[in-house]
């Protein structure tokens, strides 16, 4: 093999291209100028200039989640790296594959408190799956390939590669990706068949079963979702999805109970509480899902499939743990089910479905929208109409964090994976707007809608500039209730209606603001305007900001108050739940 000599910056670009990177999100600065120069001199990789590094990482997350590919980010040293930290943590919590290249001061200045120096590997160590400092240009190509491999395989996550400026200028050999394998890291993807056999036996004997699936199904790829649908239909069992898992199973299907957890449906949470066999696939028993741990699904036999062994038995003790990739485990489960000619206990299952039917009949997602064109818009109504008017279209949704996020999860039905991008683990306000930029770049012909709140939008307003620059078909659909709604809701429930600092004071006129960025702004302030504004938003090419002025006092229901169990849901404002002292401490 003849070795090509290239500069470090050229090696970076070639390695990215060989890894299939088409778009990189970034922001230049002193310590990455050689790489920006190399970007200028090539045509393979498109650079998208964001307005703040946090936006670059969220955009790359949106790109990654909507495609299943690794997102790529390029930022400078010091403040560039520290600004990226929120996005990296977000990606770690939600298992999103990213490679973030950070510039660094030259190796001889590292540790000298040089201008725009920070200990990037030190700062990002706890918020990445892995990170590297490349001190030798000879190791550069290999390290970047390794970073992509680590980000993509096993439980995906963000990887940082810190690149001192002298390494970018230095010359060295290029190593193609096929020669790179990590020395130690070997994620386990194939399940132990003996355990799978045992799990399927239990599944076949279940009388009140439930599938509880999460983001692992999405991360495993579209085949996992196909296999899941196949297995769920074979068994005839009910299924619920976590916030991260929405789209993993078709929402329109009869067997789907909706989302579970703190703001999940009554039927999903009651079925979780009352089941005798729980089949958890690619979810991690997060505290938003379990509610009070000692009362979580007290009488069920629990099967847990996860690619990350450390997710198993972390919060909840399970009876059958299966370590492996969701698609491979589902494949194995279906194979066992067929080979051993298992069938579900139809009689028991019919009773179980009858019980679920009673829970469903409570209609936990009902809300009251006043009639008449002049009525105040209920946020649920706006989202419901948004879902209905975009049904059948090629559409992707992102969200910010708060009440609007939960309403979007409740009222927008997702029938396929990768269509729903939300910050689940970290709960990052300001995620959705930049994420929608990444989604749009990955799917230029699709409609991308960021369901937002006004407070979250205010955190990342500057990225409207990015949308405007690239004329992206992104729609920022702001449910403007002039409150940090979820904060207000908790203050109402837990803090005696003392609304400390949760009012969105001095808001801009979002229509004028959009116009200031050179993009379209629309507003609806009464029920009669909702449909027209949504239709106009969809029809208008390029970025649109919608100021949907909604009811200020609406709360998000149903709700499991923190510290309560699944069977202690509040179904509406009339329900008076007691929040325990223990629950007060929880967030």
């Amino acid at each position: 093999m003849s070795e090509q000599k290239m500069t470090g910056a050229e090696i970076v670009l070639k390695a990215l291209a060989d890894q299939g990177v088409e778009v990189i999100f970034g922001y230049p600065g002193g310590a990455v100028l050689p790489i920006y120069d190399a970007i200028f001199n090539q045509n393979h990789i498109r650079h998208i200039l964001v307005r703040h590094e946090q936006g670059a990482v969220h955009a790359a997350e949106g790109y990654a989640r909507s495609t299943g590919k690794v997102g790529a980010v390029l930022v400078t040293s010091g403040p560039g790296a520290t600004n990226a930290v929120t996005g990296l943590t977000d990606a770690l919590m939600d298992s999103i594959p990213l490679v973030c290249l950070t510039g660094q001061v030259p190796t001889h200045l590292i540790g000298n408190d040089a201008f725009q120096e920070c200990d990037t590997t030190g700062i990002t160590r706890p918020c990445t799956k892995h990170n590297y400092l490349v001190k030798d240009v000879k190791r550069l190509a290999r390290t970047i390939h390794e970073a992509f491999y680590v980000a993509r395989t096993g439980r995906p996550g963000p990887v940082v590669v810190d690149l001192p400026k002298d390494v970018q200028f230095g010359t060295g050999p290029y190593t193609p990706p096929e020669h790179v394998e990590h020395k130690t890291y070997r994620p386990r993807v194939d399940p132990d068949m003996e355990v799978v056999e045992k799990a399927v036996e239990v599944i076949a004997s279940a009388r009140r079963p439930i599938f509880y699936t999460g983001g692992g199904i999405i991360n495993s790829g579209p085949r996992a979702a196909e296999l899941l649908a196949k297995f769920v239909r074979m068994t005839g069992f009910p299924i619920t999805n976590t916030l991260m898992g929405l789209g993993g199973y078709p929402a329109h299907d009869e067997q789907f109970l909706g989302m579970l957890g703190m703001h999940g449906t009554y039927e999903a949470n009651m079925a979780m509480h009352g089941c005798d066999v729980m089949v958890c696939i690619g979810a991690r028993f997060d505290d938003r899902v379990t509610g009070r741990l000692d009362a979580f699904s007290p009488n069920s036999f629990k099967i847990h499939v996860d690619i990350d062994r450390s997710s198993i038995n972390k919060n909840v003790h399970v009876d059958v743990p299966i370590v492996g990739d969701c698609a491979r485990v589902l494949d194995a489960m279906i194979e066992v089910w067929n080979r051993r000619k298992f069938t579900s206990d139809q009689v028991a299952l019919n009773d179980w479905w009858a019980q679920i039917g009673l829970w469903r009949a409570r209609k936990s997602l009902r809300f009251h929208q006043d009639e008449g064109d002049d009525a105040v818009i209920k946020p649920q109504y706006a989202i419901k109409r948004l879902a209905e008017l975009t049904a059948g279209k090629d559409v992707y949704f992102t969200t910010e964090v708060g009440q609007h996020q939960m309403w979007a999860a409740q009222y927008i039905p997702f029938d396929e994976p990768n269509r729903w991008m939300t910050s689940g683990g970290l709960g990052t306000m300001g995620y959705g707007l930049p994420a929608s930029i990444g989604v749009q770049l990955a799917h230029p012909d699709s409609l991308v809608i960021d369901v937002a709140g006004e407070a979250s939008t205010m955190m990342v307003l500057q990225e409207l500039g990015t949308m405007a620059q690239y004329r992206l078909n992104c729609k920022v659909f702001i449910l403007n209730n002039r409150w940090m709604g979820m904060v207000r809701q908790w203050q109402e429930l837990l803090h005696g209606e003392r609304y400390s600092e949760s009012y969105s004071e001095a808001l801009p006129d979002f229509v004028k603001l959009a116009e200031a960025f050179g993009i379209t702004g629309l507003r609806a302030s009464k029920k009669g305007e909702v449909d027209d504004v949504i239709k106009k938003m969809i029809e208008t090419p390029g970025p649109v900001v919608v100021d949907m002025q909604v009811c200020k006092t609406e709360n998000c229901f149903p709700m499991i108050p923190s510290g309560a169990a699944h069977n202690e849901m509040l179904l509406g404002p009339g329900d008076q739940g007691e929040v325990s002292e223990e629950g007060m401490v929880m967030v």
Partner: protein
């Protein structure tokens, strides 16, 4: 009687890691970030050909926490193997201490006598000080140090526990050990 899931156990865990910058920070960061205890930690390269180091750590927690610790360690990218020496059959644990005693007269003689009983060696001596090297289980070291305290114990350095499984069981691959 405390419930099974409330009993605090102490475990000695051996971890084989790639000897690369930051690997120790990763392990320590895991413990501090997740609120686990470290009672003792030692690290040194044991396989120069494969650039591998062995970390021995002593930690305590409930059974669920101990399992979490092992799984979280196993999840770190540069970690090759994790073995719970407490769980997996018998093992030998040793620690070394350097103990400096500053004294004269009877105390000086008594310290030498006790050192003899504990099979401690004198590795440095002046007319008014001894430095002893003592090896053994942590409990033995505790006992020795306790006896030296009234005899002029002035300075102390301990290595922390190193441990290895009894019998032919290995953490390294046989080829690497050879």
């Amino acid at each position: 009687m405390p419930k099974i899931d409330e009993i605090i156990e102490t475990h000695t865990i051996a971890v084989l890691v790639d000897n690369e910058p930051g690997v120790l920070a990763r392990v320590i960061g895991l413990f501090s970030g997740r609120g686990y205890n470290i009672e003792s930690l030692t690290v040194a390269e044991v396989d120069p050909n494969n650039n591998r180091s062995r970390i021995t750590l002593v930690t305590s927690g409930t059974r669920m926490v101990i399992e979490q610790i092992k799984n979280q360690l196993g999840r770190l990218v540069p970690v090759a193997r994790v073995t719970d020496l407490t769980d997996e059959g018998p093992s030998v644990e040793r620690e070394l201490a350097l103990v400096k005693v500053v004294s004269t007269g009877d105390h000086r003689i008594e310290s030498l006598r006790i050192a003899d009983i504990f099979r401690a060696r004198v590795v440095d001596s002046t007319t008014d000080s001894f430095t002893f090297e003592v090896t053994g289980s942590s409990q033995k070291l505790d006992a020795f140090i306790g006896l030296m305290r009234p005899l002029g114990l002035a300075d102390l350095s301990r290595t922390g526990v190193v441990a290895i499984a009894r019998g032919p069981v290995t953490l390294l691959t046989p080829a690497a050990a050879a």
